[in-house]
């Protein structure tokens, strides 16, 4: 887990959110992790467009894509859609 889980004595009552959703890292759910072979990547950005969690970041200044592992749930759509087979799903 990315953050320590609180006990019932520390939590606010009624299921009230105790941290903003941007700090709730859904990357915790992942089983398989995408990895990029930069040699094969042509920067076509099909993965970037298809990612349902906007967990792929495109950095034009570096001409690089990066995975945001805090939010990537490991669905594997990027790996499936990549025409160059530059993305591999690896068991964590």
């Amino acid at each position: 887990m990315t953050t320590k889980q609180k006990g019932w004595k520390e939590l606010p009552i009624a299921g009230l959110c105790w941290k903003p959703s941007t700090e709730y890292f859904t990357g915790d759910w992942r089983t398989y992790k995408p990895t990029l072979d930069e040699e094969k990547c042509t920067k076509c950005l099909i993965c970037y467009i298809n990612c349902p969690d906007t967990a792929i970041k495109w950095k034009p200044e570096d001409e690089k894509i990066e995975f945001d592992y805090n939010f990537c749930k490991g669905c594997g759509i990027c790996a499936n859609e990549c025409p160059q087979e530059a993305i591999k799903m690896v068991l964590e």
């Binding site: 889980q5 609180k6 006990g7 019932w8 939590l11 606010p12 009552i13 009624a14 299921g15 009230l16 959110c17 105790w18 941290k19 903003p20």
Partner: protein, 411 residues
Amino acid sequence: MKMVIAKQEVRALNGDEAVAYAVKQSDVDVVAAYPITPQTIIVERFSEYVHNGEVDTEFICVESEHSALTACLAASATGTRTFTASGSAGLALMHEILYVTSGCRAPVVMAIVNRALSAPINIHCDHSDSMAERDAGWIQIYVENSQEAYDSVIQAFRIAEHPDILLPTMVMLDAFVLSHTLESVKVLPDDIVRKFVGTRQIPLIKSHKGKLVPFKLDPENPVTMGPLDLYDYYFEHKRQQEDAMQRAPEKIKQIHDEYGKITGRRYGNGLIDPYRLEDADIATICLGSTAGTAKTVVDQLRAKGVKAGLLRLRAYRPFPAQDITKVLENVKAIAVMDRSHSFGAYGGPVFHEVRHTLYDVSTHPQIVNYVYGLGGRDMPQTLIHEIYKELQKILETKRVKKPVQFIGVRE
């Protein structure tokens, strides 16, 4: 401490009217309700107060009980004082939202006029409706007469809204026996009730931004209530509800006592109401209006020298296990009277919990269960006498022949 007994006015009210009058005096912000016999009079009377401008309450007419409670829950979440009333099928239709209300820790107060569940359709009293909701996380208070209905509704706002509790609260009164029967009810002056209930206290909680904010839906200080809560946190939030229930008995007693100082009326210690139990050998246990009849029977038996007593449970949730143990540990034979039945179970729900509570008592009293009065079947003195007669037999033989029995039903 000086006792302050307020000047009270005697009014002729039935149980429903007594509830409506208590709500009128309790400075309620929102009432949303749907009519169902025998609760209808509560909402009818209250809508008259709204129409006549006697109360400053937003009255929401809704299309069902599911909507009624949903509206109350939503209004309560914004920090308002809310009330609704129902019974029988209406309460059953609220089932889903009962859990949402307690889970959101919304201190809604609801009067339940106990009525049998269909089928066959029946509008008369038994406790099947509220017993089916005993696990919903609501405080449950059963009353014996219309006076107590009035008193308990006023107390219920203080109990539910107490910052250490924040649990919705149901006040149960028996259909027709109480709801439609005229009684003389002593009512307090408006200003004294207003002072007793006060305004709803909103505790501060830590928001998702780490800031201390009022525990309510407020655009200035946004919070998220009742979001998705999976295996990682749901259990913790349920554990908190149990913690609030564990804290409730002390507060119920305190609030009941504080109210008693104003009115001079007390119902036992607020959780249980024992009657001539101190030296009793045999006793019955019941909820609601049956206790009135049973008290008369106890008096008749006492006059003949029989050491008989009665225990009425006023609070059923939280279940006052310690208090019950204390008053029953020296009683030798006990009959638990259930006005509802769990089909296929080993006796009725009150029997389950009382018998289970007394398991650890070293004196091991003999316990028998009587399921009675389903669908409004009368429970006259003669039948209660029969129960005490059976208890005397159990006392002599030290043996319970048949632990679960049905009384008042034709073979």
